[in-house]
Symmetry: C2
Subunit: 450 residues, 2 copies
């Protein structure tokens, strides 16, 4: 592996060079480093040291480093740069990244930066891209691409491409358009190299091309690119004109971010947090879910008080309450996770009713297995038969209801346009706790009649 | 979007054409379809119909369709083909896919297929690739790549490349090796096109290249490719000889699978399941976790029985038990999710002790907020002061311990080489339930002295 290990010695050296303001040595130290590695170095320096380096290195390099950093860290750096300096950084970025950064700036800074970019090509691109929703194809796409006219010759095409390729880091596909800029097809570099040089683009290009339009949602773009194993996909406007392209690396970031968000939501963490976030950020992300759980717990207190009459003769019911609540919560989370994954990955079967029926059947079978274990435990521990039966029967009913709730809530949320991932985790556990405890005592009251 | 919508009419048509054995019409219907779309059609047909189509279409197409299917569905199809037919499919696959499929076959079928491939280039490649662990770079890599010798001329290189490119679906990078096959650097198609034709490879190639070796773990490969935004990475053996390459689309699949697995584990689902799996598969994936929860619940019963003496004077404690258990569970899951993400994404700070201290501090602050809410609730509901204080104080202690456990277990598992993701979900909830309830009643006994 050629990846550079950031050692403590290296960091100490950098820090002391900054203190000595030995710019030549500093430049030498950063020369061979990949921007992703520089970003890791920045994570270990204080903000003044980082600003020193940012102002020292050329903006072509620092622009890439900025894109590697967390939004928070990037914000801190940009806060220390003036509008002209920020504009210099942005000029070196890909258009999609540049637009994201502009969108993150406070309003008054944004105006200054936009003014600095006025009249440049980048300025025009940003003005176009910033109109789109962040999570739409328009918001994900970049303007850098190679397009050729269907009427060109292969030789003319190669010359033109060399000029266009300057702005494009990696050539994925060459897109073919007509005189109106409407997307007609694509051409691979391989095809172009192997084509006779006197051929016309019209003779060699592939008329079939996958594309999305500017309003397609990010998740849908990810699904299509994954399904068809695409490394880049062209984006068209309402008139089918080629306006941009999305590359797989942006989609990889998108997929990872979505997965992280779903995972954290399932664990009851509502903002995207990283281990190095501040205590305040963590509390903001976590406390609301705990308060939700607390309210649910108080609901349980209320229900249990209503069945206080059972305390005298059937204390065992109260000892088993945490078990019932835990079961309801666990099954609810399992069912909701399956529903959420089915919804987000688009792997759902056609019929929702069929899934619900299957979930209830699974719950019935799982419940029966657990019920039998409870009966066996009750027999060994000399629990009165009727109490054992009550608990076993309750487990079955509670699990079935929990599965039903766990499956339905994500589906209902999704239909209403709310991210179903919010349904797994504390939300489901809390509501299932309450339902579970209520069902348990209701059945107990029916059977034991206290 | 050019994606094809699989309509019921289309499916009915296909089914009736199969019944009529109208092969010409069938071939026409499947002609324009992308293999990913054919895979979706297969999902809607019964196994006999699928086999009919598989035997009808040429193996170049069906090989790609097979790779799109779930392992289960693919298995069902392969069960209906003989060793020669399977070998025909495999011959058309990329070497990495071919090796995966061979690995999935039952032993006696595998031998037959391997015999059928004996002496072919594919046979040799498979024999090499199958040695590696599935989740290592060796197990993920394919043999298809374009390599050129550092001593060649650009013109000779172009000719040689055209021949090699036949086997490669997409050209990512051209790798440069020396006479011993040792990886020296890379060359982009863009560089090659723009180089003067009388140049030597030695003059134009980039000496810096990221690579992994055959034993690098899949997660590490994903991390490096994501970090450096790579679309392909070369793989070298112990002698630094270029032996294969991994492309980003395989890594996208790998990342999605890992994220799905983590998400399901967090929800207490231990096998990878999809909504269309059988009831039996679901039960196998879910029942073990429920039994774990049941055992935990029985542990809670045991603890509560030990504090039976409090039942007479402090029934409220038993009403609040589900609340305490839920809080312990929620906080445990939050803390473990943060630890797991830190571990798997490699975004952990250096010091584990620092993270633990931070988690405990966050728990203390969250606990104090929740404790105050409990005291307010107790005041409104006329709960005896000492009982309210007991509950509030318990919440704080329970949450702090839960955070400590939630953070430590993933770290300990990770150190022992066990996937830390197993720690989120039922495992943490169950153990924290028990600890929480015990701490609650222990504090109650100290304060209230029953």
């Amino acid at each position: 592996m050629t990846e550079i290990e950031i050692t403590q010695e290296f960091l100490d050296k950098i820090k002391s060079l900054i203190e000595q303001q030995d710019n030549d040595e500093l430049l030498l130290h950063f020369k061979g480093l990949h921007h992703a590695d520089i970003a890791e170095v920045f994570d270990q320096l204080n903000i003044d040291e980082v600003i020193y380096i940012v102002k020292l290195l050329d903006s072509q390099k620092t622009a890439e480093v900025l894109m590697e950093l967390d939004q928070d860290d990037r914000q801190k750096i940009l806060d220390n740069l003036n509008a002209r300096e920020i504009a210099d950084e942005i000029r070196e970025m890909d258009t999609d990244d540049a637009t994201d950064i502009i969108g993150e700036l406070p309003d008054h800074v944004m105006t200054g930066v936009v003014n600095n970019l006025q009249g440049t090509e980048m300025g025009r691109h940003i003005q176009e891209l910033i109109k789109y929703d962040e999570n739409s194809a328009g918001g994900l796409m970049a303007k850098e691409l190679i397009k050729v006219n269907e009427n060109w010759s292969v030789t003319g095409c190669l010359t033109e491409m060399r000029a266009q390729a300057e702005n494009v880091t990696r050539v994925h596909s060459i897109y073919v358009v007509d005189d109106d800029g409407v997307l007609k097809g694509r051409l691979s570099l391989k095809d172009l190299i192997t084509a006779p040089s006197d051929a016309h683009i019209n003779d060699v290009y592939i008329k079939k091309v996958d594309y999305v339009d500017v309003h397609t949602e990010g998740e849908e773009v990810a699904r299509v690119m994954k399904k068809y194993d695409l490394e880049a996909i062209p984006v068209v406007d309402e008139l089918n004109r080629l306006v941009g392209r999305i590359t797989i690396d942006d989609i990889v970031d998108f997929i990872t971010e979505e997965a992280d968000k779903d995972y954290q939501l399932a664990a009851g963490i509502s903002e995207d947090v990283a281990p190095d976030d501040t205590v305040g950020q963590f509390i903001r992300a976590r406390l609301p879910w705990l308060i939700l759980g607390l309210i649910g717990g108080l609901g349980a207190v209320y229900i249990l008080q209503g069945f206080e009459g059972a305390l005298q003769n059937y204390p065992l019911l109260f000892f088993f309450t945490p078990l019932i609540a835990a079961m309801a919560g666990n099954v609810g989370v399992q069912s909701s996770a399956i529903a959420v994954q089915g919804l987000t990955r688009g792997t759902f079967g056609k019929s929702i009713l069929k899934l619900l029926a299957k979930e209830v059947l699974i719950a019935l079978l799982n419940g029966m297995a657990l019920g039998l274990l409870i009966l066996a435990f009750g027999y060994v521990m000399d629990i009165p038969n009727l109490v054992g039966l009550t608990i076993a029967l309750s487990i079955i009913c509670v699990i079935m209801v929990a599965a039903l709730i766990g499956t339905s809530i994500p589906i209902i949320l999704d239909k209403r346009g709310i991210d179903p991932a919010i349904a797994t985790g504390p939300f489901i556990t809390t509501s299932n706790d309450i339902f579970g405890i209520f069902i348990f005592f209701f059945i107990a009251k029916m059977i034991l009649g206290f």
